[in-house]
Amino acid sequence: MTSSALALGSVFAAEGGGDGFQAPGLGEFYPEPIATFSLFGIPFEITRITIILWIATLAILAFLIAAVRKPQIVPGKLQFVGESGYSLVRDGIARDVVGPKGLPFAPFLASLFFFILANNVMAIIPFAQISPMSKFAFPLVLALICWVIYIWIGIREQGAGSYFKDILFLPGVPKPMYILVTPIEILQNFIVRPFTLAVRLFANMFAGHMLLVVFSLGAVYLFSRFGENFSWVFGPVSVLMAIVMTFFELLVIFLQAYVFTVLMGTYLNGSIEAEH
């Protein structure tokens, strides 16, 4: 039973109680755990969202392995799709955004892209219909990995002194301005970047899911009250909006996976090449 179905239950429960429409809330993202266990004192919950995460992970791995199982110069359909995705990241981001030294990062960036994409797609796959990326933990993990990597690469490529000096004291800025610029730069490079990276992806998937659920459940509720208070107008409108929003969600799914990867590319570029 999906969490939306639980919400659907509460819609009808509300109907029965004559309480009006109960909009789905945060409970959407906290489904009942199927199993819980504790490892080294850390509680683990197996919920439908973690299962969706694993399904997405295994599906993308299966797809990628199938795509390169028999690599050929003239690609088959599956290989072509895989290659297109990898080329998009390798040429469009690793080479063009990160720079001439960017190609070694192509596998990392591509696995980011494919991992996010696979998880995002779950938002519109029937029966799953929620992206694990709408749980803050998962985007946060990715953003923290990116954070560690771009700082580490910056130190490796420019040397710790030069890297931190360039960030703290932007070259070409008048000295008194450092009072203003240095705190902003520290905030920007070490706190805002990973946070926005994570929040952007999380919030998009979160809001997308909420939109879909509200319109879908709204449609169900309005049809259950057919004939009352213009619900015969707003019911179909709600269905239509749910469909339109699904297509919009499809766009967001690809866009957010790409944006996350491109931004990581620009951060890596800043770390590899001396800034400004």
Binding site: S10, L26, Q72, I73, Q79, P107, F136, A137, I145
Partner: protein, 197 residues
């Protein structure tokens, strides 16, 4: 129930369990991608690039070969042309030479032929003159003897009148080349003068 849950959760505070699960899931994807998927894609790209570049290289080699052949052909053609021009010039010069030689030879020949003809003509003229001289003398004496009615042969032979007359006649003919003097003379003399011309 779900509304109740919403009140106890803050969506921006992630549970550690999920962070670790996310880490493992992404780590798995990255590991497989970096170890297995990306190298194979790179291998395919390399193979494709080599196939394309190999094709280009082959085409370039063929082009170079064709160009070399064309250059060689052109050089040979130019060589042949100069050679032909040389041969033509040489032939022309040789032809000129041969022509001149032939002309000289022909002139020589014609001069020789003319000379021989003149010689022959002179010889036959001399012969005719000698014959006529004898015959005219005999005829004239004979005719005169008949006119006079006695034989003048002996006296004519004795005195050499005929010869003297003929010599005189000859001298006159030499004096006036148009042969006016021959009018009053013998027909034989007239024939002689015409033949002399």
């Amino acid at each position: 129930m779900s509304i109740l849950a919403a009140e106890t959760h803050n969506p921006l505070i992630p549970p550690w369990g999920e962070i670790i699960i996310g880490l493992i899931a992404f780590g798995l994807v990255f590991l497989v991608f970096a170890r297995f998927v990306a190298p194979r894609f790179e291998q395919v790209f390399r193979a494709r690039r080599e196939a394309i570049e190999g094709g280009i290289e082959r085409a370039e080699a063929m082009q170079a070969e064709a160009k070399a052949a064309l250059d060689q052909y052109r050089a040979q053609l130019a060589e042949a042309r100069t050679e032909a021009a040389q041969i033509r010039d040489q032939a022309r010069a040789e032809g000129q030479q041969i022509l001149e030689e032939l002309r000289a030879q022909a002139q020589e020949e014609s001069a020789r032929i003319i000379a021989r003809g003149e010689e022959q003509l002179a010889a036959s003229r001399q012969q005719v003159v000698n014959e006529l001289r004898g015959e005219i003398g005999v005829l004239a004496v004979d005719l005169a003897g008949r006119v006079v009615g006695e034989s003048l042969e002996d006296s004519a032979r004795r005195s050499g009148t005929v010869d003297r007359f003929l010599d005189q006649l000859e001298g006159m003919a030499a004096g006036s080349p148009d042969g006016r003097t021959a009018r009053g003379g013998a027909t034989g003399s007239s024939v002689y003068v015409q033949g002399d011309r």
